[in-house]
Symmetry: C2
Subunit: 231 residues, 2 copies
DNA sequence: TTAGTTTGCGTCAGATTAACGCAAACAAAT
DNA sequence: ATTTGTTTGCGTTAATCTGACGCAAACTAA
């Protein structure tokens, strides 16, 4: 058995859609390019896969370079193959998306690269390559996944209030959800557990803090969150 | 802007999980290899991606070669990156799965390659490369997708009875489903439409034939099929 | 002190689910 | 031809779930 001979293979890249949530705003990490192609424009952060790297290694490399942190929730999204997606030549992109709580990055804020920026999901500029499509696919995936899997707790602090979780869902789904029904569904689901604690510095009836239930591995759960139509 | 220089890139392959359904049996198209690696063993059909091909082109090429037919339901599954997945060297696999009604192939039966065979999903042999993992991922995807999307009609004839559809679901999900509740759910969903016709050669009260409702494009529907616990 | 907001808990009519009954139309066995 | 079992279509029902929204205690802002 002989190894592959020198096929000409398409270049193979990883592109990342890194979601961050802060102050009722879902944003994505964009890269301001300072070289061709798309010099001066925005793209998603990405890198070519090295021969000895696994996808997750390449992801880590990108995240470390641009965010100074690489242990994030990471999920493979889709592989993109438009022959014209990169003007430099044939390149396949394996896209991943990641979830970060930008708050947790603040300690390492100085390590965030100068050429990246958080951009509000609702105000996406034009993106180079086929990155607009990748972004749209990622947002779609996040929106549908959050309905049946406790993704998104990755976007909040370790402890959070019901209101914070509610706002996160409204923000990601870009719709309004009935507060009381949401509360009931989430608590019934046992996705989260009450800690019995309240945030420091607040008085008696401050909102209760919850944590994600790490023991829970239910897979086929359906939140089925109602839209708030009236009010 | 210069084109890519000669990076050494991993080889890039497409592997296919082709599902076929016949006589209450869900099967997958396997390839009997007659060269190394895994000579004499089973693998999924696959091929390397040519520089000018899109994924779907490579899929078509494989399907035409092995089945003599290439217009099937096709969906990208996942991309696999284990550095050890191919003993010949680094190779990435972009896996797709396809659905065929083997009945529709019969006319072109002679064109089916001699080195492939339909194998019952429940009796999968050892597979070369990481193809067992790819197969498992595909089956999982099919099982979850069938619950919220009218995939699977691709596996039946143009017209089919409620019983045939019911059996297909039981077979794919590998469980028993209450016939009467299944019927109600499916009819309420409007995934299928009654034709008012009965299969030829049968008498008055032969089972009614249905067709897939092609106008239906509902996306967030939940079949929520109950398991039949008693009886 | 008053007026609004946030948070937690509750109510309730209507829809949905899961389990299963029943009979007409057929098929197979005697 | 009659009996017996199976297939197919259509119902029923109790328990549960959904979605809309009321209410008051604890807080905040004016």
């Amino acid at each position: 058995m002989k190894p592959f001979h020198s096929y000409r293979n398409p270049a193979l890249a990883i592109d990342l859609v890194v979601f961050g949530y802060n102050a009722k705003e879902l944003s994505v990490l964009l890269l301001k390019r300072n070289e061709e192609p798309f010099k001066g424009g925005w793209t998603l952060p990405g890198a070519f896969i090295q021969m000895d790297e696994r996808f997750s290694d390449t992801c880590s490399r990108i995240l470390r370079t641009k965010l100074g942190m690489d242990k994030l929730y990471l999920e493979q999204l889709y592989s993109f193959d438009d022959p014209a997606r990169d003007p430099r030549g044939r390149a396949i992109s394996v896209a991943y998306y990641a979830l970060v709580n930008p708050h947790k990055l603040e300690t390492a804020a100085s390590t965030m690269a100068g050429d990246v920026e958080w951009v509000d999901c609702r105000k996406m500029p034009q993106l180079g390559f086929d990155h607009k499509q990748i972004f749209k696919t990622a947002l779609q995936r996040l929106r549908s996944k959050i309905l049946y899997f406790p993704v998104g707790f990755e976007l909040l602090d370790e402890q959070f209030t019901m209101t914070e979780l509610h706002e996160l869902y409204e923000c990601i789904l870009d719709t309004s959800l009935d507060r009381r029904n949401f509360r009931r569904k989430i608590l019934d689901s046992e996705y989260i557990l009450p800690t019995g604690m309240k945030r420091e510095g607040l008085q008696n009836r401050a909102p209760e803090l919850y944590v994600f239930n790490k023991k829970l591995k239910r897979n086929n759960f359906q939140l089925n969150i109602p839209l708030s139509k009236g009010q």
